[in-house]
């Protein structure tokens, strides 16, 4: 009989990792909304976020916060590079959508391997952002890193919502998502929106990677599992709705936590993938329903 007394504690960590999945999932949504493609290089952004921060911190002695900022910016640039070099040429040649998915998967592999060659295969980790013992809240040990993750995610989501609702660029991106041709006719530079969506999505991925690395580790090959989890989050939340992706991520994190307690740690991935299949079969429009 599995020990259910661990459940609330594990559920809490499930929410924590769920926030990370959520951020990655939002990244998927942003690109999907702008272009209709699923960007499988998303996981690479997560990996690079942690990896570049680590490299700046340890190899070059840059302070943690600055390293994080540098990583964020660098990954955003890499995101734009992928858009220009991989997605745009296919786009202009009218390639089928799964061809573009395959190309982003290939890009993921290229980044993964290049990272392996550059820094080797040792897993790396980052120090926790604040060096304090866990807080005790309602009988649960709350890790300070969890607080960082949770608060940062909420703030990010809030800022994003504001961005899409209130700024001109944000509204322009939403316009592109709804009807690309009409948006172009209104004078919106769709190609710029596409590049921007990649930059934004890459930044979100990097942020997720930076936040989670202190509690886990980063290595050249952590990208794909994160991408899959983020994708599941996006589907569960209703593909195309950034807010839904965040909820989806949290639900996924919780489901995984429960699965670990009940079935054992090995079934973490099977649980996640089964959730995906369940939603794809029964409710592809997700919990909140699709925006399209």
């Amino acid at each position: 009989m599995p020990d259910l007394s661990y459940l609330p504690q594990i559920a809490l960590s499930g929410v924590g990792i769920g926030c990370i999945y959520g951020l990655i999932g939002i990244g998927f949504c942003v690109i999907y909304n702008a272009s209709g493609i699923v960007n499988f290089a998303q996981g690479a952004f997560v990996m690079l976020g942690g990896m570049i921060t680590h490299t700046a911190l340890h190899r070059y002695g840059v302070p943690l916060i600055l390293s994080a900022v540098i990583a964020f910016a660098a990954v955003a640039v890499i995101g734009i590079a992928i858009e220009c070099l991989v997605v745009r040429p296919l786009w202009t040649r009218g390639a089928a959508m799964f061809v573009m998915i395959l190309a982003t998967l290939a890009a993921q592999i290229v980044i993964e391997r290049a990272t392996l060659i550059a820094v080797g295969d040792q897993p790396r980790t980052l120090p926790a952002f604040t060096d304090r013992p866990p807080l005790m809240i309602a009988g649960l040990a709350v890790n300070t890193q969890f607080l960082w993750i949770f608060v940062t995610s909420l703030v990010t989501v809030g800022l994003l919502a504001l961005f899409f609702k209130a700024t001109i660029i944000g509204k322009a991106m939403r316009a592109c998502a709804i009807n690309r041709e009409a948006a172009a006719l209104q004078g919106i530079r769709v190609s710029r929106m596409l590049a921007l969506s990649f930059a934004l999505s890459a930044g979100l991925g990097a942020l997720a990677g930076i936040l989670i690395t202190p509690t886990q580790y980063t290595a050249f090959n952590v990208g794909v599992p994160y991408a899959i989890s983020g994708f599941i989050a996006a589907i569960v939340g209703g593909f195309g709705r950034p807010l839904g992706a965040f909820f989806g991520g949290i639900m996924l994190g919780l489901a995984q936590a429960v699965a670990i307690v009940v079935f054992g740690a090995g079934f973490k991935n099977v649980a996640a993938l089964s959730v995906l299949l369940l939603f794809l079969f029964l409710r592809p429009s997700g919990i909140l329903g699709s925006s399209k």
Partner: protein
């Protein structure tokens, strides 16, 4: 109009260029057979992939659908063959029968809901299936030995007669591949193949002609799963060993590369693609770490600049337009 006897007609050019990929790939195969050595092993793998990729070609090239998860069926049949022939001393052929049945049953169960999905949903659902099977192979240690894998798998053979020589295996595989490619050709040039092409061309128009898109997508899915199962089982006997990595994401990317290099939708495509792509690591042997990197870059460039692959080269010579 009289034809000058000294010029070669465009039609003859087209036929020659169309034959080039076959000749090139066939040449490599013949070389491997004659000279033996490591190349024979590489070509054996290549031929197994020809079978797998042909199956993929039926579902993706002929019927125009997407699947990132056919490695699941290869894994299901491969592991069944491995377990039954090692732990239970079954005959390889009978074990394959069981593996095929399992793969088809799963394909039916998975295909039914999945094929209702379109576009990236279908792509992702099939990817999820492939990944789930991989995870099960890793976690169900009691059955599959997890990462350690199963070894000591007997070679191909019937009723005690075993094919143990490298050349013998290659010859046997070549025969199977010939049958498989012949089957693919027969499928394409038939009422069934036309129905698949119709579904690929326009589902609405196909349905308006009485072609049930759902039925034909499912049948194409099952047929391609059968080819994948065959490839999966052949692999374990040829190598003598199986582990989850064999059927992982690497297989997906590799098979897609082969499909695109060779030319999706053609008969020669899987053959040409598998052989040529299998040669690449040999050319890059010194740069082992760079292999996957080069694959990735090559695939991207291919998808952008040559989406029709090598087998469609004959399309580059224009057919004379009738007046």
């Amino acid at each position: 109009m009289t034809k000058s006897p000294r010029t070669i007609s465009p039609e003859a050019w087209r036929r020659s260029i169309g034959a080039l990929p076959w000749l090139a790939a066939g040449g490599v195969l013949a070389y491997a057979f004659v000279f033996g050595g490591y190349l024979t092993t590489v070509m054996s793998f290549a031929l197994i992939y020809v079978i797998f990729v042909t199956g993929l070609n039926i579902f993706m090239g002929f019927a125009g659908q997407v699947s990132f998860g056919h490695n699941a069926f290869a894994a299901l049949s491969g592991y069944t063959s491995a377990v039954l022939t090692t732990s239970y001393a079954w005959e390889p052929l009978a074990a394959f029968g069981a593996g095929l049945a399992l793969a088809l049953a799963c394909a039916l169960v998975i295909g039914y809901p999945t094929l209702r999905l379109r576009g990236h949903y279908l792509a992702m659902a099939t990817l999820a299936v492939g990944l789930i099977v991989y995870e099960v192979a890793v976690e169900w240690k009691a059955l599959t030995q997890g990462y350690m894998g199963i070894s000591g798998i007997p070679p191909l053979g019937i009723a005690g007669l075993e094919v143990t020589s490298e050349r013998g295996q290659l010859a046997l595989l070549a025969i199977v591949v010939a049958l498989v490619l012949g089957a693919a050709w027969r499928i394409r040039e038939s009422r069934f193949g036309r129905a698949l092409a119709a579904v690929a061309g326009s589902e609405d128009a196909a349905r308006a002609l009485g072609i049930s898109a759902a039925h034909y997508k499912l049948t194409a899915f099952l047929a391609s799963a059968a080819f994948a199962a065959l490839a999966g089982s052949l692999f374990v006997h040829v190598v003598g060993f199986v582990s989850p990595e064999v059927y992982g994401l690497h297989m997906v990317v590799l098979s897609f590369t082969m499909l695109y290099v060779g030319g999706i939708g053609t008969i020669a495509g899987p053959f040409v693609g598998a052989i040529l792509v299998s040669l690449l690591p040999e050319l890059l042997r010194r740069f082992k770490d760079y292999q996957d990197l080069v694959y990735g870059v090559a695939l991207i460039l291919l998808l952008i600049y040559a989406p029709k692959g090598l087998s469609a080269m004959k399309g580059l010579v224009r057919k004379p337009v009738p007046r």
